[in-house]
Amino acid sequence: MATETAVDVVMPQMGVSVSEGTVTKWLKREGEQIEADEPLLEISTDKVDTEVPSPASGTVTQILVQEGETVAVGTKLAQIGGSGAAAPAAAPAPEPEPEAAPEPVAEQPRVPVAQPSGNGKFVSPVVARIASEHGVDPNAVPGTGRGGRVTKKDILDFIEQGAPAAAPAAPAPQAATPQPQPSAPPAQAQAGETLEPVSAMRRGVAEHMRRSLDTSAHVTSAIEVDFSRIVAARGELKKEYEATYGVNPTYLAFVARGTVLTLPEYPYINGELRGDSIVTRNYINLGVAVELQEGKGLIVPVLRNAETLNLLGIAKGISEIARKARDKKLMPDDVQGGTFTITNPGGYGTFHGTPVINQPQSAILGTYALVKRPWVVQDELGEDVIAIRPLMNITLTYDHRLVDGAYAGRFLRDLRERLESWEGDGG
């Protein structure tokens, strides 16, 4: 009874730090045909929302994880080909092969997350799994097993009791720096409140924001930039870019191009503090923060080697990655490896902000609303006069562990001069 070979579809690894993903939508049903590379389902992780293409052509024989479920990376989601659930029709009289009953339980492989065993105590497989599922450090759990080993019951009791602090006789756990999220008691809605589950992306954003503030020494400096020349340049280019390339040369693209031209002289701003070393680079992978549908989350796709792109290339690149982010077409590579980030909260008129650094980078640039303001300029005789100028505030939030205020100030000065004296491609 040979059938075509079964191919498993598993939850992909969408970035090194991602350990689980949520199935948001199945694009095929059991029994439907699918071609290799055709999208099979959509998933959401704390890094990226994307489609998962089918690894093979054939029939979708089994769907094992339902929409809305969150599973570990590597978990089997579906099977393409093979005999699947549809058993061959009962043979006439004899059934030669003794078959055990179907075993749904056997089909939930889980990927273990290695647990630190700081104090050298043996952590059994089930304890390791429960610890990783609940984000608990097994070393913080008082053990009652042989030699003080943490038993399954110990860790389940520990989790049930709530916060690690509630454990009475914990043998002085070496407080792991940021205490892993204790499994909080289930939230209860008070009168007038409604509860909604936290999505994988929201959880990822929450963890990253908190970790960033716990890691970097955030300092923000701001400049006011006269955009007169850029407004003029954009006016000239807009028609041509749109007609010829279908690209809108946004102000963000100008700022990004100006930034890319300025960064090489300030390698720490495009650098990283990594352990005992300072990392600098001869390339710029420019992250651009993109908001997904209202409040659904934020993602930072990356424009790789932005130093090789001119204004048109950058404008085009930003519009492409933003579209991919909104259509959930981003691939893992699209969100990894950024070296510097620009965020643009000015769309709604905001004139100032203090963004959070995208770890492990060392700085983030914020662009704000372009507004016409009275501005003191010099007339042709060198006299001060008040003019109406389009102005934009731009902030640089930097990690003061690596970047000093004067260094950041010089970067901002150079950026401002470059933007205010814009010519051609900005160079």
Binding site: P94, A100, S124, V126, R129, G145, T151
Partner: protein, 324 residues
């Protein structure tokens, strides 16, 4: 419902099938006039006649060979090995012919071999063995090992109905020791389905046959320690109910596999390996086996007691797992 011994339940099941289906006949050494070495078929020859309750010569090859041929011709033979140990003489007919016939020629071989097995009564090396794992290893054979009167009847009827060769291991030690209510009407117990003999949360014992009762006594002792033991009675070891075993392991995370057969290559090894393979991340301790040692079964009552896993051995094993 009538209260029957394990042995009476076997007789009852066999009689009900012989009354119901003329194709069913019994063949074996002393099964007719004498009524069987253990009296399972007492009165059968009187009721069904010598052509359906056949006294065979001392030749297991002939008995199993005849049954294989008869089953291929549409009969439903039930062979009795006087002792399970003697089945080795019929190995070739059973393993080379009966087990493979379905694959070679597509012919069903609906035969049942009844195997009075197990020790505990100083039967010595030739009358006490539990050879189920040797046959569980042979594709094409099914092996059932009932532990209660109710299952003894229901599994025998399922075995007779089954279109494949089925080895029916009936434990001699249980014959007259175990007594329970057994439905009078005809019923079947599905082959391949385990039964939770006892519900528990802390440790799973996976076992079958007479060891179910040993495990039960041990579990009762552990209750006073506050340890709750679950007992899964496999009932059938081929095909075995993997899903039920894994479900129990996922609940308790600690497992004791218990059998009366010898250690190396015993069926417990297959179960332990499967648990390690498919429930690794649910384990909170090593998978423990308690079995007979790798020697023949001794005659001496003292030695036999040391050989067959006793309640104390199981209690000690369970305590060790509980404390792990």
């Amino acid at each position: 419902m009538a209260e029957l011994t394990y042995l009476q339940a076997i007789s009852d099941g066999l009689r009900s099938e012989m009354r119901r289906d003329k194709r069913v006949f019994l063949i074996g050494e002393d099964v007719g006039v004498y009524g069987g070495a253990f009296k399972v078929s007492a009165g059968f020859q009187e009721e069904f006649g010598p052509w359906r309750v056949i006294d065979a010569p001392l030749a297991e090859t002939a008995i199993i060979g005849a049954c294989t041929g008869a089953s291929m011709m549409g009969m439903r033979p039930v062979a009795e090995m006087q002792f399970a140990d003697f089945i080795s003489c019929g190995w070739d007919q059973l393993v080379t012919v009966a087990a493979k016939q379905r694959w070679r020629a597509g012919t069903p071989v609906p035969l049942v071999v009844r195997l009075p097995s197990g020790g505990g009564f100083s039967g010595g090396p030739f009358h006490s063995q539990n050879p189920e794992s040797s046959f569980a290893h042979i594709p094409g054979l099914k092996c059932v090992c009932p532990s209660t009167p109710e299952d003894a009847k229901g599994l025998l009827i399922s075995a007779i109905e089954d279109p494949n060769p089925v080895l029916y291991f009936e434990h001699k030690h249980l014959y007259r020791r175990i007594k329970a209510e057994v439905p009078e009407e005809r019923y079947t117990v599905p082959i391949g389905k385990a039964r939770t003999h006892r519900d528990g949360n802390d440790i799973s014992v996976i076992t079958w046959g007479a060891m179910v009762h040993t495990a039960d006594e041990a579990a009762q002792q552990l209750e006073s320690d506050g340890v709750s033991v679950e007992i899964v009675d496999l009932r059938t070891i081929m095909p075995w109910d993997k899903a039920a075993v894994l479900e129990s392991v996922r609940k308790t995370s600690k497992v004791l596999v218990l059998h009366e057969d010898t250690h190396t290559g015993g069926f417990g090894a297959e179960i332990a390996a499967t648990i390690a393979e498919e429930a690794f991340e649910d384990l909170d301790g090593p998978v423990k086996r308690i079995t007979a040692p790798d020697t023949p079964v001794p005659f001496s009552p003292v030695l036999e007691k040391a050989y067959i896993p006793q309640v104390e051995d199981v209690v000690a094993g369970l305590r060790e797992l509980a404390e792990y």
